[in-house]
């Protein structure tokens, strides 16, 4: 249909316009204003990309009329739907279909099509026209061509400090402008202090710099700041935006969890000046390095910072997929500044990242055994790294040595008791082993369902039938069989043994039962000791059918703090079988086994790292349950009988007895001389397990020591980190990005048009990190120096720091960007050195005043003919106030803290905010607890991001809510109050104002300002004197108590003065 209209449109066009179209007047006018040289990358590509690629770009499925305008071959080729025409005919407008279409006003013919809502401006049309006239030269996108070392341009008659200035000043001169003179020392010191440490200079620091007459006075300050421990904090603040670091999970209930160890690693790494190459390699692949350390593994928390969901109804695989996508997208944005996430559902519309490329990249981040739904009981989602304190490390080491000792002792005793065993045989005491069926020693519970759910070992205990979490009892369904009765299950109602079967990971135990598994059953639990299938992210142990295979898990938190074994073969169905689980208390997979009809079941171990206990340690400890679980698939139409639970690992022979494959009769009727070798082994096993009191005592001692180990481990801090699965998970290209729509399998690889993955690299995250830092990678170093640049200059050299692709802005100084990128790489990715280079440049040191000529010619300061000037960031605004009043708590690192915050904010997601009450509240803002769904208003109002996803460039807005924060937030009133008190110590108000003004703004007030503020102080003093009730709010806000002997009216008046300065431009803006 559409085609039909196109053809008609085309025919009409032929009649209406003949061949040569007239260039509209406004386009002709715009044409005259164009620069002499039209550059493809700078002028043309942005237009083609933004206005044409949606239908004629890299996305194969969306290409209309078979035309691509992102590559020359296609653009110059004959048009399939317009025979004899080409879209672009170099040097010939009239033969270029593109030309006719962009100037047409015919809705059926014009381009872009009206329904796209995209419009070309006259200037854009003119550019395309001139470009075609000049030969329509295509060039590769600048960002995908590796940077080349550029010649440092010459600059005449200007003082340059380093090559940055050569690049910047030469361009300024070309544009007919002049660089600005250097900023005043006060302004410069405040600028560089805030930029390098996030903190303002103190009065002492200001005076030292102002009085330093040496030639390198500024450089000394720069070195001092680069070596300050607060440098790392400032650098980390930006990095944490990029790494989406937060203190909460981010979805629904949004509980908090502590990832501060990662944050502190970032601070420390910047302070130690870890090379950027190692800095990002550790974060991407610290666990896969040839020699990983605790520190490099901590760094991998980078890839676990993403939000995670604990909502009850979520679908496990949906969110597992979402987490991997988050990592993939973050990788693209943080290190490549390419929005790879766009290729989740389809080929990227603007950049050379196909949908297949996306899933290839995704596969690097997919090999981690993690849960989609996180636990309801605040266990850290696995995999995790244990982070014992020094003290805990000692305790653990001690207990480990004790366990070793007890294990040795047990072996020793068993050996030593050989003679005792021989006597026991000789005296034929084995004849006393009861041979009436079921082994009785250490039997904790036995349920035969003959008449009820009672435990025949202990009459006081009684099982019940339950559904969901109801405590109400349901009716059991008994069925007759040849031996009496068994229990029939429907998959929803389950048998709860109440207080039977509660074992810790240090307890040996056995569970035996008869069961009948229906043929249809492919998924569902047979028995478990836990609260629910997934909601507690599985804690306890269970035996289930999973994907038609029998599976057994024992876990602190599944899937990675656990033992999981899967049966290798099929399990008999539609017939009664006997199943026994035994566990030796070792926390190891080889100590956890299953037996079917008395024979060991061959199983594959898929996880063997259980490092914390398997119980909840609370009053409502769940017991052993059979046939179903809360919100999980049950043992539908299954049958159960004769459940026996033991407080020890049964011997293999006893397991056979349970399965009715054997009994003691054959042995107990024999004389000792008649016993075979095999029978002696069987008896020895039994003797060791049940008879010898010394062995039993040694085993109990070992069990106790193991329990101590569990107790000592339980509260050791954990950090979510990356851990590669032994067998890589299969990755598929997902149709439309949907977790449940896999198409074809894909393998680790990187987008080849950015830079192909070298064949010699491992196809894992470590290989990916090497690809990223390979000198042939065109993006990494450029992206990194651009991030650093925007810290100092407000905007990056590429303003769209998050997007170096076709839709991003062109670099304002491409040659400089490339020079810096190479310089950075060749310096060994030395971050401090690069920072120093930038802040030492004359470009950075310029005054930021705007001449009207510069404002007219360059309102956005792209040319950098003046110094940078920006509003303080959210963190700086608060830290500046705390520093100025002298109350800042400079403690570095540790858990996040809870500052003043209006009451009740966290109530919308049912959580409590408990404000700190010590000097913790005066810590730096980067340590403020960051709850993703309810951000701290002091920071959020000043554009602090919610850290739900990677952010490399913050907004900088200006709203009335910001005014309310600095006027009325207790943090700022308190700071003003402390300064108000301090002012009372000065002999006269002028010097008091002078001092507070310097502390807050880093500059000296002029006479007019001092006079104005002195006036304010007097009028406020009169106000407070005559209305003492007006003082209250000013002096009683915040934890800080002022000196009671001072005149409260005076303190309050001073406080208002300090608050006024704090709210003024000189405080809020970094000039």
């Amino acid at each position: 249909m559409k085609k039909y209209f196109l053809i008609i449109g085309f025919i009409l066009f032929l009649f209406a316009f003949n061949v040569s179209s007239k260039i509209p007047d406004e386009v002709a006018a715009a044409y005259k204003e164009l620069p002499t040289i039209i550059d493809y990358n700078e002028h043309v590509k942005p237009i083609l990309s933004d206005k044409c690629y949606a239908c004629h770009g890299p996305d194969v499925t969306k290409q209309k009329a078979g035309l691509r305008l992102d590559i020359a071959d296609s653009a110059y080729a004959p048009l399939k739907e317009s025979p004899g025409k080409v879209a672009i005919f170099p040097f010939n407008l009239n033969k270029s279909e593109l030309f006719h279409r962009i100037i047409s006003k015919d809705p059926d013919y014009m381009m872009p099509m009206p329904k796209s809502h995209l419009i070309l401006s006259a200037k854009e049309k003119a550019i395309l026209i001139k470009w075609i006239e000049n030969g329509a030269v295509f060039k590769p996108h600048w960002a995908f061509v590796a940077p080349l070392k550029k010649v440092i341009p010459m600059v005449y008659n200007l003082n340059v400090i380093n090559p940055i200035d050569n690049f910047v000043f030469s361009k300024i001169q070309q544009e007919g402008l002049q660089p600005s003179p250097a900023a005043s020392r006060e302004i410069l010191l405040r600028r560089v202090s805030l930029d390098l440490t996030g903190l303002p200079p103190t009065i002492e620091e200001m005076d030292a710099f102002l009085n330093d007459k040496s030639a390198n006075a500024y450089e000394k300050q720069v070195d001092r700041l680069l070596n300050s421990p607060h440098y790392g904090e400032k650098m980390a603040t930006q990095w944490l935006d990029l790494a989406r670091f937060a203190d909460s999970y981010g979805y629904t209930v949004d509980r908090t969890r502590d990832m501060s160890v990662y944050r502190d690693w970032v601070i420390h790494s910047f302070n130690e000046n870890l090379s950027y190459k190692n800095f990002i390699t550790d974060q991407l692949a610290g666990d896969l390095l040839p020699a990983p350390t605790k520190e490099t593994i901590i760094a991998t928390a980078f890839n676990r910072n993403h939000p995670q969901n604990m909502e009850g109804g979520i679908i496990e695989s949906e969110f597992q997929t979402e987490y991997v996508m988050d990592r993939t997208n973050t990788f693209g944005e943080a290190f490549l500044s390419i929005s790879v996430g766009c290729a989740r559902c389809h080929d990227h519309k603007y950049d050379p990242v196909s949908q297949e490329n996306y899933y290839q990249l995704y596969s690097f981040f997919n090999n981690v055994k993690e849960a989609g739904q996180i636990s309801w009981n605040d266990d850290m989602p696995t995999p995790t790294l244990l982070l014992p304190t020094k003290e805990e490390e000692k305790t653990i080491a001690y207990i480990k040595s004790k366990i070793k000792e007890k294990e040795e002792q047990l072996k020793e005793i068993i050996k030593n008791e050989d003679s005792d065993f021989n006597n026991w045989i000789k005296e034929e005491k084995y004849k006393a082993i009861p041979n009436n069926g079921l082994p009785k020693s250490f039997l904790q519970g036995y349920f035969s369902f003959e008449d009820s759910l009672k435990n025949s070992v202990n009459d006081s205990t009684h099982a019940i039938m339950r559904q969901d979490w109801d405590t109400k009892s349901e009716q059991p369904l008994f069925e007759k069989n040849s031996n009496g009765q068994h229990l029939k299950l429907n998959g929803d109602v389950y048998l709860d043994l109440k207080n039977i079967g509660i074992f810790r990971k240090s307890d040996p135990f056995s569970i035996g039962l008869w069961l009948y598994i229906p043929k249809e059953m492919k998924e569902g639990v047979i028995f478990h000791k836990s609260n629910a299938e997934r909601l507690y992210n599985f804690k306890g142990f269970n035996v289930s059918m999973h994907q038609d295979r029998l599976e057994m898990t024992m876990a602190h938190t599944a899937p990675s703090n656990a033992i999981t074994k899967v049966a290798l073969g099929a399990i008999p169905r539609n017939q009664w079988i006997q199943l026994t689980m035994t566990y030796d208390g070792s926390s190891e997979a080889k100590g956890l086994n299953l037996f079917i009809d008395g024979a060991p079941l061959p199983m594959e171990t898929v996880m063997d790292q259980l490092y914390k206990d398997i119980v909840f340690f609370n009053k409502e400890e769940p017991a052993l349950q059979f046939g179903g679980w809360y919100r999980g698939l049950g043992f539908k139409d299954g049958k159960l009988d004769d459940i026996a639970i033991y407080n020890r690992a049964l011997t293999q022979f006893e397991i056979k007895i349970l399965a009715k494959k054997s009994n003691w009769n054959e042995i107990t009727k024999k004389l000792s001389s008649q016993l075979t070798k095999e029978e002696l082994v069987i008896l020895k096993d039994y003797y060791v397990s049940v008879i010898n009191p010394k062995i039993l005592a040694a085993r109990t001692a070992l069990q106790l020591e193991r329990a101590h180990f569990s107790d000592a481990s339980e509260n050791i801090k954990e950090l979510m980190v990356m851990q590669e699965m032994a067998k890589p998970k299969k990755t598929y290209l997902l149709s439309r990005g949907q977790y449940d729509a896999p198409l074809k399998e894909v393998f680790p690889n990187t987008p080849e048009r950015i830079f192909p993955f070298p064949a010699n690299l491992p196809k894992n995250r470590y290989g990916l990190a090497q690809w990223l830092t390979d000198e042939r990678n065109p993006l990494t170093a450029r992206v990194a120096v651009n991030h650093l640049w925007q810290n100092f200059f407000g905007n990056g050299i590429v303003k769209t720091a998050e997007n170096f692709g076709s839709q991003g802005e062109m670099p304002s100084h491409l040659d400089l960007l490339d020079w810096l990128a190479i310089e950075f790489r060749e310096s060994g990715w030395d971050v401090k050195k690069m920072n120093k280079l930038m802040v030492m440049s004359a470009t950075y040191q310029q005054d930021s005043k705007t001449s009207w000529i510069a404002k007219e010619k360059d309102p956005e300061n792209k040319l950098l003919a003046r110094g940078p000037s920006n509003r303080l960031t959210a963190e700086m605004i608060r830290d500046n106030a705390l520093t100025a009043c002298g109350i800042l708590n400079k403690k570095i690192g540790g858990k996040s803290f809870y500052p003043y915050q209006p009451e009740g904010l966290w109530e919308i997601n049912n959580t409590n905010y408990i404000q700190d009450t010590t000097d913790e509240i005066y810590r730096r803002s980067l340590y403020i607890v960051l709850k993703r769904t309810v951000p701290n208003p002091t920071l959020a109002n000043f554009d602090g991001p919610s850290r739900a996803s990677c952010v490399v460039r913050r907004q900088s807005t200006n709203t009335p809510l910001q005014a309310l924060v600095t006027l009325n937030d207790p943090t700022f009133i308190e700071a003003a109050k402390i300064m108000g008190e301090e002012m009372c110590k000065q002999t006269n108000i002028e010097s008091a104002i002078h001092q507070v003004y310097r502390k807050l703004t880093g500059t000296t007030p002029n006479l007019k300002e001092v006079a104005l503020l002195a006036n304010l102080q007097q009028s406020q003093y009169r106000l407070f004197k005559s209305n003492p009730n007006k003082i209250n709010g000013w002096l009683n806000t915040g934890l800080y108590k002022i000196n009671k002997t001072l005149d409260p009216s005076l303190v309050a008046a001073n406080t208002v003065v300090a608050s006024t300065i704090l709210n003024s431009d000189a405080t809020i803006t970094k000039r």
Partner: protein, 491 residues
């Protein structure tokens, strides 16, 4: 479409548009309006390569707007359609029978009931009757709503793609299931600006008396990647209705005015050096903040409402922060021409004990909701105010967990649910769309969340395909890549 400074369309349909253009022009020229302030900030720090002005102008109404304001009553948790509006008499004889596979048709279930061995049908415990001239079926739990049913346009064929609260709520409010996009109110603020220069364009109220079964998150009224002046501002019951609105205790408005006067002078002195327009922009923000300090407590104060109004809104209406009280407050905000007011009432997530739970929810919300409709109508405001009622998804026909005649639960159901709209732009007294006998599938006129959003924007005079913001190289819109206006419900 280029908008020249004197751009005008000379047709009566466009009178409203012309008024807006004049106002916008005025805002651009004065320092006091939000438009100018935003302009000041954005010219220097716009995320997009376009200026704010260009973006606003591109998004200007090309459709004559029907509504000036929106009131969105968000019933968080997913109210059951079976106990409210979607009458399914056939189910009464099917208590406990399994849901036929032909109806479910392999559609996915949540992790909460996917593992049930059986999906037993739970007929509604409610009685339904027909009300009004429109003879609309309404449950006996909503007697007050039943009285105003001729004002409502009930959509029974809503559907969403999300099956769990967080993604579903986020999808409804931002058009995308993952965090990070602007909410509906932010888009409206961005697209239309504010009519009241003393109050934010987008205000959020959260009932304090709801049972908080499912949490809310500030991102539901967040500005996403839009400039932050478009964020929703939560007005809270209590002494500090807007965060940090109150001056230090004892220091009154007059005192603050005096202090701000000095602050202005100080800024002027400082700016003598810099000549930075940003300073002027910030000073205007302080003025606006000051005006909010006066106007917000004023609008929050319901003491001057008449006895009759409190009667109308019901017994809880004097209890500040309750749903009923928030309804009165919402009406007051609308009277002040606040562009978008959104009330959140939690507590509709009835996985178990649904009858008891939903009775309570309806008791809290039915009378005040109906009162709002009547109140707006008699004040002549229903003509240019669009009212919306609904949650993030519906509930299943089958019981989650155990089923008794009088006690059951229902799981999340995204495949169909009921919402209603009333007032400006929508036909009153109609029902749109229909579901099958099990209210499991839509059989007539499905309305996707993006369709609903497109329709809402259309009623406000905005083309959902035009209201875009370029971020990270891509043009984003509320309706993502789909959505169509439901023309049949429009007046």
């Amino acid at each position: 479409m280029g908008h020249e400074p004197d751009f005008k369309l000379h047709h009566p349909d466009f009178d409203e548009l012309n008024k807006r253009l004049e106002r916008r022009d005025f805002l651009k020229k004065t320092a006091g309006g939000l438009g100018a302030l935003a302009l000041g900030t954005l010219l220097s720090s716009s995320i997009s390569s376009k200026t704010f002005e260009q973006q606003i102008l591109e998004a200007l109404p090309t459709i004559a707007p029907k509504a000036k304001r929106v009131l969105y009553l968000f019933m968080s948790g997913g109210p059951s359609q079976f106990e409210t509006f979607d009458y399914k008499p056939m189910l009464s004889s099917m208590l406990g029978k399994g849901l036929p596979e032909s109806v479910r048709n392999g559609q996915r279930l949540t992790g909460m009931s996917a593992n049930q061995s059986k999906l037993p049908i739970a007929p509604s415990f409610c009685d339904f009757k027909q009300y009004g001239k429109s003879k609309t079926w309404v449950s006996d739990l909503l007697p007050y709503t039943a009285e105003v049913v001729d004002e409502l346009c009930i959509i029974k064929s809503m559907y969403t793609e999300q099956i769990n609260h967080d993604p579903a709520l986020t999808f409804f409010q931002t058009g995308h299931q993952l965090p990070g996009r602007p909410s509906i109110g932010s888009w409206l603020s961005y697209g239309l600006g504010t009519e009241n220069k003393n109050l934010p364009a987008f205000i959020v109220l959260v009932s304090k008396n709801a049972s908080r079964d499912q949490p809310l998150y500030a991102r539901l009224w967040g500005n996403g990647f839009l400039p932050s002046q478009h964020q929703g501002v939560q007005f809270r019951a209590g002494n500090d209705p807007v965060l940090f609105l109150n001056n230090p205790a004892g220091y009154d408005g007059k005192d603050r005015k005096e202090m701000l006067h000095y602050l202005n002078k100080l800024n002027e002195l400082q700016n003598d050096v810099w000549g930075d327009p940003e300073v002027e922009a910030r000073m205007s923000q302080y003025e606006l903040a000051f005006r909010m300090q006066t106007s917000v407590p004023d609008v929050m104060d319901t003491a001057n409402e008449t006895e009759e109004v409190f009667e109308l809104y019901g017994p809880e209406s004097r209890d500040k922060g309750s749903y009923a009280s928030n309804c009165i407050l919402a009406r007051k905000l609308l009277e002040k021409d606040v562009r978008f007011v959104q009330l959140y009432h939690q507590g509709w997530d009835h996985h178990g004990s649904l009858p008891q739970g939903i009775k309570q929810q309806c008791k809290q919300t039915d009378q005040p909701t109906a009162a709002l409709i009547m109140d707006l109508k008699r004040r002549g405001m229903l003509e240019d105010t669009l009212v919306i009622w609904g949650g993030e998804f519906g509930r299943t026909v089958y019981s989650q967990g155990k089923l008794d005649k009088d006690n059951y639960g229902r799981d999340h159901h995204p495949r169909c649910f009921t919402m209603w709209m009333a007032g400006a732009g929508v036909k009153p007294g109609i029902t749109y769309g229909a579901t099958d006998d099990f209210s499991y599938n839509i059989i007539k006129k499905p309305v996707h969340v993006h369709d609903f959003q497109a329709t809402l924007l259309h009623i406000m005079g905005l083309n959902h395909e035009n209201l875009v913001y370029k971020y990270q190289g891509r043009r984003f819109r509320l309706t993502d890549v789909s959505g169509k206006v439901i023309k049949e419900i429009l007046t």
